[in-house]
């Protein structure tokens, strides 16, 4: 969680230094989901993420130097500066993302079918926000996964907001998880600010899918501490409300409290871990910002993977 927070904070710093363009979405406040899911992910499992993807990428084991370099649009980035912060692709860890809401789930369905056909016990995790759960892609992917009992886990990060639109105002159901019945899927619900609970529930979801039980919808309720994107004027909620969420639901603070109350760690040791991660990211960011930008001469490279005769 701490590494994920430090990573996104480095992105905010890179944005301040104008190294990132377009609408940057960070996951600050939602790290318990990333950290919780990391424990149950196997290398061959696939994760297909969203516009808010950095902590998911780290959870899947994407190299953080290459990821940060991509987010900062560098030539040595994960995707040679072509993808940027919303579109990281890493075939070596079976990680990908999309900037189109809901579009992650049909892609996860494809991974799930491939795993099934090859007789692998790998699982495809498709991630969406609550907003994405209203899309046609969500429904269609789950119809097919349910009918074919495919090893797919749909992780719904329900932070109650899709930009300004509140979940309660547009959802026909109180939760997303309860829609699972319609797809013969297992529906699970978890407090997405509690990293231990996420780890347990997510492991249960993965076990179910891995043991041919069919698809799972796991809904993790959480809170987005910052704007939808950096620069969001957030006219739809007050400063006080945001402050209250930060003070009440910070997954890192909550976990620290648990560790110190149980007598497992002293505050000093935890401070040191956080300081260490921050320092490491600071070094990494300055190294990344020294890397060269992509050469415009190669701008047409990679349109096709195969050489196209002139």
């Amino acid at each position: 969680m701490v590494a994920m927070r430090a990573f996104d904070e480095a992105c905010l710093e890179a944005l301040r230094r104008k190294a990132i363009h377009g609408e940057l979405h960070v996951g600050i406040g939602q790290e318990a989901i990333g950290a919780g899911m990391a424990e149950a992910l196997e290398p061959e499992d696939a994760v297909v993420s969203t516009h808010r993807n950095h902590y998911h990428a780290l959870a899947k084991g994407v190299d953080r130097r290459a990821l940060l370099a991509e987010i900062c649009e560098r030539a040595a980035g994960l995707c040679q500066g072509r993808g940027g912060h919303m579109h990281p692709f890493d075939p070596s860890t079976n990680f990908s993302a999309t900037g189109i809401v809901g579009a992650s789930l049909p892609v996860a369905l494809g991974y799930a079918h491939a795993f099934g056909m090859r007789g692998m016990d790998a699982v495809a995790v498709g991630i969406t926000g609550d907003g994405g759960s209203h899309t046609g892609g969500f429904h269609e992917a789950l119809v097919m996964a349910g009918a074919r009992k495919l090893p797919m886990v749909v992780l719904v990060e329900n932070n109650a907001l899709a930009i300004s639109v509140q979940f309660d105002d547009v959802s026909p159901t109180k939760t997303v998880a309860e829609r699972a019945a319609a797809y013969s899927a297992l529906g699970l619900h978890v407090d997405g600010t509690d990293v231990d609970a996420v780890a347990d529930r997510f492991a249960e979801a993965m076990d179910h899918a891995r043991s041919a039980g069919g698809p799972v919808i796991i809904e993790a309720t959480c809170h987005r501490f910052r704007g939808h994107f950096e620069g969001d004027p957030e006219g739809y909620r007050s400063k006080e409300e945001r402050q209250r969420l930060r003070e009440t639901y910070d997954p890192i603070t909550l976990y620290r409290q648990r560790l110190t109350t149980a007598g497992l760690f002293e505050d000093g040791a935890l401070d040191a871990i956080q300081a260490e991660e921050k320092a490491a990211m600071k070094v990494l960011l300055s190294e990344v910002l020294d890397m060269p930008m992509p050469d415009p001469a190669g701008v047409l490279d990679y349109l096709f993977v195969e050489e196209v005769p002139a």
Binding site: G22, E23, R74, R82, G136, I163, S164, V165, P294, L303
Partner: protein
């Protein structure tokens, strides 16, 4: 209020405020108009182009939709068939992938398939264009809509044109794809090089009429949307170098005002079409060809086009700059054309 303060207020107004004013004036006139889209109600639109409308007209007429574009785009078709005049907002034009079905198989074809019996007064309002947001949030796509018969396709530049063409779109009985440009939506009236003045009250401009926004005698440059601003800037540079460029704002892709461009190109003898959309199978070739067909193939000494080479928009700004026609790229091309005479 004096005329001077009124003009100053207008110049300080962000373009989205002018757009929402246009929509409000039409909604006042016509109770069958309603707006549906993501974040258009409580938030007033991600750029503010529907700000204040929900407070004024209520949640039924200005509705925040879930991320269910296929659903609410088709809803627009049904509303229109039921006698309403919906404005459907697709936040960014890149997202039409998920609802194109209802747009091109229904909205665009129903008037024809019904033998003209079914009117289709829908406005699909959306934002396109490059502001550093990479491949899935930067496209223009007006060429795509223009290729599919049955849409009127409008992409204005000036605040004046946005207001008049939005009103015209809402009064049209045909489906209109109204494509705003993200870079323009971030500007205020005074940032525009041409026509920042906006009359009070409702007015319409005819859809399908281009505007000559700068007079010139050496080269005709036709373009639209944010590129008009880049073209005017390039034309200013070229003027200092002794080359006189006439700049035409097409304002719509369908209908395409070939006559205005042909009249100009016939005088200058040289035509450059600049397009922020993809190069191949698009506006630049279509317009060049129509002008040649109108004037005859030997009427012009030079016909050139400058558009995004056929590649997705890259994330890195160094790469984006290399593919999206900006003021320098346009000025360079004009210089080369001027020398080539």
């Amino acid at each position: 209020m004096t005329a001077a303060t009124r003009v100053n207020d207008r110049l300080a107004m962000p373009l989205p405020a002018t757009i929402s004013e246009a929509i409000a004036l039409e909604m006042e006139r016509d109770p069958t108009i309603l707006c549906i889209g993501e974040d258009i109600g409580r938030a007033g639109g991600v750029f503010g182009a529907t700000r204040g409308l929900q407070e004024r007209f209520g949640e039924d007429r200005v509705m925040d939709a879930p991320i269910a574009e296929m659903g609410f785009t088709g809803m627009g078709v049904g509303l229109a068939q039921a006698g309403m005049r919906p404005l459907i907002e697709i936040m960014f034009v890149d997202f039409v992938g998920v609802c194109l079905e209802q747009m091109y198989n229904a909205a665009a074809k129903v008037p024809y398939m019904s033998g003209g019996r079914q009117r289709m007064p829908v406005v699909f309002k959306t934002a396109g264009g490059c502001i550093g947001s990479a491949a899935q949030h930067s496209q223009c796509l007006w060429g795509l809509f223009a290729h599919l018969p049955g849409f009127k396709v409008v992409a204005p530049c000036s605040p004046h044109d946005h207001k008049g063409l939005m009103a015209a779109a809402l009064r049209s009985d045909d489906p209109v794809v109204f494509i705003e440009h993200k870079a323009l939506l971030l500007k205020k009236g005074r940032d525009f090089r041409h026509h920042p003045d906006v009359p009070d009250g409702a007015y319409t401009l005819p859809i399908g009429r281009a505007a000559v926004v700068r007079r010139g005698s050496d080269i005709t440059l036709a373009t639209l949307s944010a590129t008009v601003e880049h073209a005017l800037s390039a034309a200013e540079d070229l003027a200092e170098e002794g080359v006189s460029v006439e700049v035409i704002d097409l304002r719509s892709v369908v209908p395409l005002d070939t006559a205005t461009v042909a009249e100009s190109a016939g005088r200058t003898g040289r035509l450059l079409v600049v397009d922020e959309d993809y190069l191949s199978f698009g506006l630049s070739a279509e317009l060049s060809m129509r002008v040649l067909e109108m004037l005859g193939f030997s009427a012009l000494t030079q016909v050139e086009r400058l558009a995004v080479p056929d590649v997705p928009i890259p994330a890195a700004l160094t790469l984006e700059k290399a593919v999206v026609p900006g003021p320098e790229m346009i000025a360079d091309r004009l210089r080369r054309m001027a020398k080539g005479s």
